[in-house]
Amino acid sequence: MKRHLLRTLAALALGALCTGAWAQAKLDKVTIAGWGGPISEITNLLVEPDKGFFRAQGIDMVYMPGAGGGDAVRNLLSGQADVAFTDPGSLYAALDKGEKLRVIYDIYPQNIFNVVALKSSGISKPADLKGKKIGVYSLSSGTLTNLQLLLNQAGLSEKDVTIVVTGLLNFAPLMQGQVDATAATDTGLLVARAKGVGDVNVMEVRHSLNVSSDIFVVREETFQQKKDVLKRFLVAYRDSMSWMIAQPQEAAALAVKRAINGQNEAVNLEVIKLRNASSVSPLTQKSGLGAIDMDALQKGADAWKKIGLIQRELKMKDVVSADLLPGK
Amino acid sequence: MAAPFLDMQQVSYTFPGWPPVVQGVDWDIAPGEFHCLVGRSGCGKTTLLKLAAGLLQPDAGTVSLQGQAVRAPGPGTGFVFQQPTLLDWLTVLDNVLLPVTLQRTPTDADRARAEQLLAQMGLSAYLRHHPRQLSGGQQSRVAIARALLLDPPILLMDEPFAALDAITREELQDELQAMCRARGTSVFFVTHDIAEAVYLADRVAVMDAGRIRHDIRVELPRPRGRDLRYGADFNAICAELRHAMDGEGVA
C-alpha cells in the first residue's frame, strides 16, 4: 500500500516537473549581460518575478551581472548572453576590433556621467581640471571614458591631468582631499550628497556631448535570425520602463526586496527617479522609449577616435537599427 | 637429530656501495630451540636476522625454512622489531590482530586468540586502549603478542627489550620463554646483552664483522627461573661468552 502510494506520488511529481519544463520551454530565453550587479538602478529588470513584463511577451528573461560595460560586451561576444546592456564606449571599442554588432534600443539617451569637485577647490568648469588629480571607479569603467570625453571637448587630454583609480567608494578621497575632483555618475552623486559630501561643483558630461549612457547591443547573427524574439523583448523592456516611470513608489518598495543595495526605500526612490529622467529625451517623447539618436552616437564615435580610444572611423548608420523598436 | 627448522648455508649479503655485512654464515636452528645472536654494534646481527626473515635476499648462499627456500616474508615467521612499531591509531586489540586483518576479515576465533595472548601477557584490561596510553614495557608485550598471533613456528626478534628497564626486561624474558616453550616455537633472538643471551638460549652465536666466530651450547636446565641468574653455572657461561667476544676484539 505504502509502495503504491509512493509510486503515485513520484509519477505526479514527474508529471508536474515535465509540465513545468514544457511550460518553460514555450518561453524564449533571453539573457541580458549587464555592467553591474542587481542594483536598484535596474529595478525594472529585477521585478520580473513580481510584474512579469517579459513573461507577458513570451520571454524568459535572465540577467547576468558583470563588472563594467566591457564585461557585458565580452559576455555577449562569448555567447553567454543574447543582449548586452552596455555603454557606447564599450560598443565602440568592440566595433574597433572588428566585431559585428547592432544597436537596437537606446536605454538611457541622457548622459549621466559627471565630474565633481568640492566648492572650496575653485574648480567649476572642465578647463579648470588642467593639472589636477581626478579619481575614477576603475580603468575599465564608463567614468574614465566619459571623463576623457569631457576633457577632450574642453580641449584637454589625459596628459593634462593625473588620473587615480579610487574604486567604487570614490567620494571618500574627494572629501578627504586626496583627489581634487572625482568622475562619477548621477546616482553616485546622489548617494554622496546623502552621506554629507558638502557643497560641490558638478560638471555634467551631458553639457559637453550628450552621448547615451547605456544601449542594448546584439550580435549581428542574433539580429538577423531572431528578429521576432528581439522585437518582443524590446516591447517588454519598454513596458517595464514605462511602469517604473509611472509608478516610482511601487518600484522603490519592490527594490527593497529585489535589489542588492535596496535596503533604504527613500534612496531607492531617488535613484529610480534619476533613471526615469535619463530614459527620456525629446526624441523618445516623439517616437517612444528606446528611440535612437544616431547623430549623437556618431558624434560619440568621432570623439572617441579623436581621443585615441579607437583607431577606426566607425559608421554608426551601419550599426544602428531602428527596425525592432516598439514605438509608442 | 631432527631436521633443522631454519637452515642458513653460506649466506652472504652486501649493501650496494658498502663493505660486505654478512659473509659466509652457516647456521641452523632445530625445531623448538631458542638461539641467541650476540655481537658488537655493526657486526651484522640485524642484517642476518632480516635475511632469515626474508626481508632481504642473500647475494650468495641459501636460507630455508622447513626445507623451503625463503623468498619473501610470510606468515610462518613472526618478527619483533627493536621498537614496538605499534600503530597509534588502532586499539591494542586491533594492533595484535593486524597480521590477520591484512589478509582477511578477522573471525571470532582470531579475536579470541588475540585476547588470549594479551591475557597471557597480563594486558586484558588494555584491549580498547591506544598504544600511546601504554608504557614501553606494555607496548613491547603487545608487539610480541602480535608476532605470535598466527602461531608461527619461528620467531625472529631484534633486540626487543633493549629500551626497557632491567626489571621489566627480566619479566618479559620469563614470559617469552614460557610462551615459546608452550608452543614449541623456534626463536632466533638478537641481543647485545650477554646475561640475557645466556638466560634465554639453548645455543648462542657470537658474530663479528659479518661472520659467526663462536658457538656456545648453554646446557642449563629448563624452565629457568630468577635464581638461576645468580648461580655459579650461569656466571661461568657468561664469562665464557664474554671471553669469546673479547677474543674478537683483540684479533
Partner: protein, 252 residues
C-alpha cells in the same frame, strides 16, 4: 593573564571597541571613512532582523561548502597520487605551483566565460584556492612514515594498496588535518573574493554593492560577519582535529 587568557582576550576586545567609538566622535570621522562600532553593530543587527543578510550568508556558505569539498577531494587525491609516484610528481608539480601563483581574481572572468555566471565559477575558484594546502600536506604526510613501520607491513605481507591506506595515510593524518585547517580558512576567503566579480548574491557581492552605495557601515558589518564565520569554521576544524587525533597524543 596566563590563568584566564580567554577572559583577557575578551576584555582587550571591549577596550579596543570603546577606544574606537570614542575616537570616531572625538576626531569627527565621517561614516564614509570610518564608522563607529555602534553604527556598524546597528547596521548588522538591522540586516539580520529584516532578513536582508541571510540569503547572502547562505549563498556564501554554499559556495564555501562545495568549494571546500571539491578542493579537499582534489587535494587529497592529488597528494596521494603525487606522493606515491615520484615520476608523476616531477611531471605535474610545476603545473600545480603555476595554478597557485596565478592571481585568482584575474581568472574569475575567464571562469565566468567557461562555466557561466552564478555559483559555479565561485565554487571553482574556492576549490582552486584551497586544494593546495591539502595536496602539499598529504604529500608530505604520507612520506613521513618511519622505516620500521614500513618494514613491519612488508613483514606481514601487505600489498602496496594496503600499505598506502592502512599505514601511510593514517600515519600522515596529523599533517593532513593541519592542511585542512589552512584550507578551511582559505576557502572562506576564496568564496568571498570569487564573488567580487560577476555575482549577484553572497557576502562578497554585498561588499561590492555596499561600496557602490557608499554604505561603509554595511561593508564593515559584512566584514564582521565574515570574520565571525571564519572563526567559527576554524574552531570547528580544530575540534574535529582534536577528536580524530586523540589516539595520536600521549594523554593517558
Amino acid at each position: 593573564m596566563t590563568k584566564y587568557p580567554r577572559l583577557f582576550a575578551f576584555a582587550l576586545l571591549i577596550i579596543l571597541l570603546l577606544a574606537w567609538e570614542w575616537a570616531v566622535s572625538a576626531f569627527r570621522f565621517s561614516p564614509l571613512v570610518l564608522p563607529a562600532p555602534s553604527v556598524i553593530g546597528a547596521a548588522l543587527l538591522r540586516g539580520l532582523q529584516t532578513g536582508y543578510l541571510w540569503p547572502h550568508i547562505a549563498q556564501t556558505l554554499l559556495e564555501l561548502g562545495l568549494g571546500l569539498a571539491l578542493g579537499v577531494a582534489l587535494g587529497f587525491a592529488g597528494g596521494v597520487l603525487l606522493g606515491e609516484s615520484p615520476t608523476l610528481r616531477r611531471v605535474l608539480m610545476p603545473y600545480v605551483v603555476t595554478s597557485q601563483v596565478i592571481p585568482k581574481l584575474a581568472l574569475v572572468p575567464l571562469f565566468i566565460v567557461w562555466f557561466g555566471f552564478g555559483t559555479v565559477p565561485t565554487v571553482v575558484i574556492t576549490a582552486l584556492i584551497c586544494f593546495f594546502p591539502l595536496l602539499e600536506n598529504t604529500l608530505t604526510g604520507i612520506a613521513q612514515v618511519d622505516a620500521a613501520r614500513l618494514e613491519l607491513f612488508r613483514m606481514l605481507g601487505a600489498t602496496r594498496w594496503q600499505t598506502l591506506w592502512r599505514l601511510k595515510v593514517p600515519a600522515g593524518l596529523p599533517a593532513i588535518l593541519a592542511g585542512l585547517r589552512v584550507a578551511v580558512v582559505l576557502a572562506l576567503v576564496g568564496a568571498v573574493v570569487g564573488e567580487f566579480i560577476g555575482a549577484s548574491k553572497g557576502l562578497g557581492a554585498l561588499i561590492i554593492a555596499a561600496q557602490g552605495s557608499m554604505d561603509t557601515p554595511l561593508m564593515f558589518a559584512v566584514l564582521l560577519l565574515i570574520t565571525v564565520i571564519g572563526l567559527l569554521l576554524y574552531e570547528a576544524t580544530l575540534w574535529l582535529e582534536r577528536r580524530l587525533l586523540q589516539p595520536y597524543s600521549s594523554n593517558l
